[in-house]
Symmetry: C2
Subunit: 605 residues, 2 copies
């Protein structure tokens, strides 16, 4: 049943899934066998659970169920989990190149309260994805016709397009148009057929597998393009990592999920190595996961992504952030009630005893006070009582925000490719040390977006130290003006009223990157103290028509300590704006000396 090997000084225990009653390439449900195999690993020293190479199937009906409030997913759900890794230590799961095929609303992996876990060498896919796909075959006057292959069963009921899956029936909620030649969101499209814009349509079935959309506006999809039909909810991410440390996902191909690829929360030291969110080869699909490829909320230690491919997922490839939590009420001199407002943040544990938080003004997002947490009582997913070790100053009250600063991750992203997905590239709002190098971005929106928002998404935090170097930004912003103004878009949602001296973000260096672009604006930045743009080169791309934007090549507002040096711009992209000032980019620009800036900030990269 298990074998022990000595590797150097280390005992390794091997558990083979075949000993629990499933074999590769069987059509039967492997869920209970996997559960029993995982449980048997608890008694072993550094166990490895091996899957002989082949296909394994997972259905939800006998899967472990647990209620999780998974951040940035749909809440109030009991999840059915195929690989429930609860409080495991030192475990490796090695698929040895196996395919894990999921059915219906099944969540592949949960790592909760785990330490030192590796999952490797497997692909993840669904027998029937929650997304469907069709091809535009005709465009008429206010109508367009779509052919839907048999693998995406559907029905038309009262003018609505309803897709049918394994244990689910979901109306189409929107469409993303994919260019069949670029295999990316079509130029200039974005969400024009998605969300609210989709509500106007009435669908008619012309023949089995052929439907007509009535009610189309001026902008029409291109004949031959693929339409991705969005359905369902963010129920089942590929991997949910919660309260865990030292986690590695390696050589994983994630072809689909009903949610994000990886979502991690309150976890420390996470490595993704050749973790690929990608189109399933030979599938004919132009989609991968139904939401972001990777997403990290209130993590710490180091998040390392290396050699990953992120393509064709229906939202951003990477987002690293914390949570700004509004204060609902001052209960007494050392207790406040906080409120998680965004529906996909409900249930998050915002702080724990001993952690340090800071209080911020809700408009400026600037901090004005610190506090150390003594006790947290979560009343419900929306409201918690937080008691502090000290009396709270009178200035802290309802309408302010709380941010936990004990959880802020360092981030390194290296040699990754982000392309052809809906929305943006990397969303980075972590106060840790960030290095983004040798990546290739080809995003429909901004390649890198650095925001921060205390009123709608409630995503913190102000960045403190970001190096973006030696990346290639190839044809970003091809759905401009949607999803970002520039290849690198720094746009915190702040309303300083009255205006003030302090900036929100700090210390962003953009060095030695290559911009291959048809879009005029490379960097758009608001409220950064210390922004450096040096040694970058720009090349003209003919892939898409040049877009029209009133913004300059570099556009900085409310920034200070700016250095622009030794770049190689295009002939017709030599104009920058710094506040109300127009500058000539053929000359170097420095609002202070580089050395002084970094000396002042005490930063050495």
């Amino acid at each position: 049943m298990k074998r022990d090997f000595a590797i150097g000084e280390m005992i390794v225990s091997i558990v083979n899934i075949q000993d629990f009653g499933v074999k590769p390439d069987q059509e039967r449900d492997a869920t209970v066998a996997v559960f029993r195999a995982i449980e048997s690993c608890r008694e072993l020293e550094r166990p490895t659970l091996l899957f002989p190479k082949g296909r394994y199937h997972f259905w939800p009906n006998k899967a472990v169920e647990k209620q999780y409030f998974i951040p940035n997913h749909d809440q109030d759900k009991n999840r059915r989990i195929a690989f429930p890794l609860f409080k495991m230590k030192g475990l490796t799961i090695d698929g040895q190149g196996s395919e894990f095929i999921f059915h219906g609303l099944t969540l592949p992996f949960v790592l909760d309260g785990c330490h030192d876990i590796t999952v490797k060498n497997a692909s993840i896919d669904w027998e029937r994805p929650i997304l469907s796909q069709g091809e535009v075959i005709e465009v008429g006057d206010g109508t367009f016709d779509v052919e839907i292959p048999k693998e995406y069963p559907y029905e038309v009921v009262d003018g609505n397009l309803i897709f049918l899956g394994e244990g689910w029936t979901e109306p189409c909620k929107g469409i993303i148009e994919m260019d069949s030649s670029t295999r990316s969101p079509a130029y200039g499209t974005g969400d024009y057929l998605n969300y609210g814009s989709y509500l106007k349509f009435r669908v008619e079935e012309l023949a089995p597998g052929r439907i007509r959309y009535h009610g189309a506006g001026e902008q029409m999809p291109g004949i031959g393009n693929a339409l991705i039909f969005q359905c369902g909810y963010r129920d089942c991410p590929g991997v949910f990592i919660n309260n865990s440390t030292e986690i590695e996902l390696a050589s994983i191909n994630m072809y689909h999920t009903i949610g994000m690829g990886v979502i991690a929360q309150r976890s420390e030291n996470i490595t993704l190595n050749a973790f690929n969110v990608m189109i399933k080869p030979g599938s004919g699909r132009l989609f991968s996961t139904a939401a972001d490829a990777t997403h990290f909320v209130y993590c710490r230690g180091t998040i390392l992504l290396e050699g990953c491919l992120f393509e064709n997922q229906m939202d951003d490839p990477l987002n690293v952030h914390g949570i700004y939590t509004p204060i609902a009420e001052r209960v007494n001199e050392n207790t406040i009630m906080i409120q998680l407002v965004h529906s996909q943040q409900r249930g998050a544990l915002v702080a724990s005893p001993g952690e340090t938080v800071r209080f911020l003004n809700r408009k400026s997002l600037l901090p004005f006070e610190l506090g150390v947490v003594k006790e947290v009582k979560m009343l419900n997913p929306e409201y918690s009582l937080v008691t502090f070790t000290q009396k709270l100053p009178e200035s802290v009250g309802a309408e302010d925000l709380l941010e936990n600063i004990s959880w802020r991750a360092d981030l390194t992203v290296r040699k990754c490719i982000a392309r052809a997905n809906r929305a943006r590239g990397f969303l980075i709002t972590t106060a840790g040390k960030v290095l983004v190098e040798q990546n290739v971005f080809s995003s429909a929106g901004a390649g890198i977006k650095i925001s921060g928002d205390g009123n709608y998404w409630y995503e913190s935090s102000a960045v403190q130290d970001i190096m973006i170097r030696n990346n290639t930004f190839q044809d970003c912003n091809y759905c401009y003006p949607q999803w970002g103004q520039a290849a690198i878009d720094i746009d915190p949602e702040i309303k300083p009223d009255p205006p003030h001296e302090d900036c929100y973000h700090a210390n962003i260096r953009i060095e030695g990157n290559r911009f291959i672009t048809f879009h005029p604006t490379l960097v758009n930045a608001n409220s950064v103290d210390g922004i450096v743009f040096t040694g970058n080169t720009v090349e003209r791309s003919e892939r898409y028509p040049a877009t029209v934007s009133s913004m300059s090549t570099l556009s900085f507002r409310n920034c200070k300590n700016i250095i622009i040096e030794n770049n190689d711009f295009l002939e017709d992209q030599q104009q920058g704006t710094i506040g109300s000032e127009t500058i000539d980019l053929r000359n170097n620009y420095a609002s202070l000396m580089l050395d002084e800036l970094w000396k002042e900030k005490g930063i050495a990269f």
Copy 2:
């Protein structure tokens, strides 16, 4: 804030809710204050939480949320709890006559993992009940018209009657017709306007507060009668007692709940003293709780109900039972997978390590083997893996049932009144010692029902020792043939195939009761070994027309060891049937001597 008193040797700590920011008769939400007061009790010795007499209000939005699979309620719900008593010890909550008014989907009390708790001297009601009420004002050809008072806001949408509440909008799902003179379900009605029978109706609004039902059949409601409109789900019982010991509810008037009055599970020694589920005085309502008054699943120790009134609730006043759980699969020689099939049993913990279960044939419900549980792993609310300390015999397999015999309560019900509710009186299927005495039953169905079922409700168990003495059965079965055949109806759902010698139930004594009745059948019994009917008297009631039934006054099938002695029957009710045999009740009847029977069973009452 708190005061300590020495009562004898005992220190009592008093906590006053006023010290947490609420006063009696304030319209504001008391929920957070109650939570903080309860939490403050954790640090005290034998605390009493006092409410100065008055009205207190509870809304759900800041209430503690927890997911519970509450037995015999609707599942997969996160409950908002006004009094979350989690792992409390030695606590008394004294309302001092206060009214607790709940709003929307709020669950008043959860006692989970508690020991030695008393809740007393309070009433429980909702500002807007989940039930609504109207009056029949006209009956036409296939139509009837109803007047609905303003306190039950509604709208009519597409022929459907929708009621509007605080945070809820629910379609009417059925109607119970209440006789305005008897204030009970109308004679001969039952569920004729409820559940499936309701689906045929189309509703028209004639004027504000006046609606017409179209599609009525032959049976019409009586003009002047009240209609109770059933809405919503069993979301919020009044008191949920889980994994707790030594619990007392005393002098509680429960005017309404969105579910049962009290539901207890895996708890030990529960006393209900003057716990009244009743019509709110002066309210004009003819309903109380939306489901059973009290319900106990897999409890043990003693359940004592004394001096309680149960009236006008929309289901039975009392049900004491365990759970028959089907075996889905034999996993290996000492492990089985079990499956909770009924949707309202999902999530129940069926067994724990160290507990003894028995295996039963699914058709006969007769046990054939015992097992001692080593480990239980709940996969999800439906499936669990149960491992036993010993190898399971080959005879145990899929299609058999498992019953936990470590949880079986003794039950004493004394001086209670059960009347005017939908459905039956007391449902008793516990193998513990049962004493039912000095109660008054006036049930629409059977006054006492002793069933047992392994195929639909999955409610165990066979009874072993029941004494029913000195009760008054006044006008039971006025909705005959619905809800039971006789005042005392013993009808286990068994299909012995082939027929066999063993009986399902055992040792039921019916002694010294007074039957005041218009209905011909007093006792209907199937499969009882040891049934005694002695010293009972029968009086003719003129309250309702005599019902027509083909059954005898006493009707026993598949019973053995029967004694019928010294009863005083009505002149025209002198016929009994024992199997295919007709007996003359003017003579005593004994299939064996009384002493021998009890000696054989080893029972002394």
